[in-house]
């Protein structure tokens, strides 16, 4: 029995579906494919980063209030910088 619509019959449409389910923000200079709806807080959890030990810049704006991390969904084209303190003089 034929599945309708079979994905192989409409490759363009299936690709479109996959695209809309994911987003591709640039995180620390590298494009990263994430599930649509991923927030800054989700991203930090996925990366196992303690929000208290990092500073996040979203499209060149520093997110000074860490309580906003879970309320900020990311989008394709967003630029995220996650920084921390390292040894220096």
């Amino acid at each position: 029995m034929l599945n309708w619509p079979h994905p192989t019959m409409f490759p363009a449409m299936s690709e479109l579906t996959v695209r809309s389910a994911t987003i591709a923000p640039v995180v620390n200079g590298e494009p990263r494919r994430l599930q649509a709806g991923t927030t800054v807080g989700d991203l930090l959890r996925e990366l196992s980063l303690d929000p208290q030990l990092v500073v996040v810049e979203h499209n060149r704006t520093i997110l000074r209030d860490r309580t906003t991390f879970d309320a900020l969904p990311l989008a394709t084209g967003d630029t995220i910088e996650i920084v921390h303190f390292v040894g220096g003089g």
């Binding site: 620390n28 990366l47 030990l53 500073v55 920084v83 921390h84 303190f85 040894g87 220096g88 003089g89």
Partner: protein
């Protein structure tokens, strides 16, 4: 002196005026960096031995493919040390301001060790960019400690721009060449109201001592400790040298003479 040396922090502190930067008092006139140590364990031990309170750190991207924990806060207790973020690696006013804001957002304090580097080979400061960045950051409430040349006019302009401390170099960053121009450093100290902290170029204990003998308020060093064969021993040496230099400055040295003057009586000699 035995009792003085038993005083925690620094021996000279007991005989000294308080060390204040941007309205806040600090225990030690020795400031240390945290870069380039062979291991985090050695870094922590050396900083402990140095007696330093102010410890500089750099702002960098988190390595997302990390194999080991490189964040300094995993190794250094921020309740024990005063973390001073720097803008090392910034070559423009805009970058330095961005890094300073990121450093402040880490949430520890309003202080920034401001660097605007003008040249990759010498790492000498871009003083025009430095003055611009100082003006912007001071207006935003930062306590700016500006890494600068041993140049009086730049130091005066930085003071006008609102710095909390000027930090002229002894010699280029990481060079270990020691204090190349004591005259310039003394002149800056005489003419400025804000603290003068010599930053960069100190190579060994005698360099730190001679620098403090010029009357400056403090010294910041990193490579002198990190690149020593035994950083912990060198940290002890630096701590003692800082005290020696500061005490010698406060004591006031004897005048230099071009001729010998006998220390023993010239009377009562045998016929």
């Amino acid at each position: 002196m035995a009792t003085l040396l038993n005083i925690p922090g620094s021996a000279s502190a007991a005989l000294d005026t308080p060390f204040v930067i941007g309205g806040r008092g600090f225990r030690s006139r020795l400031l240390v960096g945290t870069g380039k140590y062979a291991s985090n364990e050695t870094m922590v031990q050396a900083i402990e031995a140095s007696g330093a309170e102010i410890v500089t750190v750099a702002v960098r991207r988190v390595n997302l493919d990390r194999t080991r924990e490189e964040g300094i806060l995993y190794h250094l207790d921020p309740t024990r040390y005063f973390l001073l973020a720097n803008t090392a690696g910034c070559y423009t006013t805009e970058d330095a301001i961005r890094y300073a804001r990121l450093g402040r957002a880490a949430g520890f304090n309003e202080y920034i060790k401001l660097e605007v580097i003008g040249d990759k080979e010498t790492l000498l400061p871009d003083t025009a960019g430095l003055i611009d960045a100082t003006r912007t950051l001071s207006a935003e409430g930062f306590r700016v400690m500006a890494y600068t040349n041993d140049d009086l006019i730049t130091a005066l302009r930085l003071e006008d721009a609102g710095v909390s401390a000027v930090m002229p170099l002894a010699s280029p960053i990481g060079s270990g060449l020691g204090l190349l121009n004591p005259y310039s450093i003394r002149t800056i100290k005489h003419r400025l109201t804000v603290p003068v902290i010599v930053d960069a170029g100190v190579g060994t204990a005698s360099d730190a001592c001679v620098t403090m003998e010029q009357g400056v308020d403090g010294v910041l060093m990193n490579t002198a400790l990190a690149a020593a064969t035994d950083p912990v021993r060198m940290a002890w040496a630096m701590r003692a040298a800082m005290d020696a230099g500061r005490l010698a400055y406060l004591a006031g040295r004897m005048p230099r003479r071009e001729v010998a003057v006998p220390s023993s009586p010239t009377e009562g000699l045998l016929e």
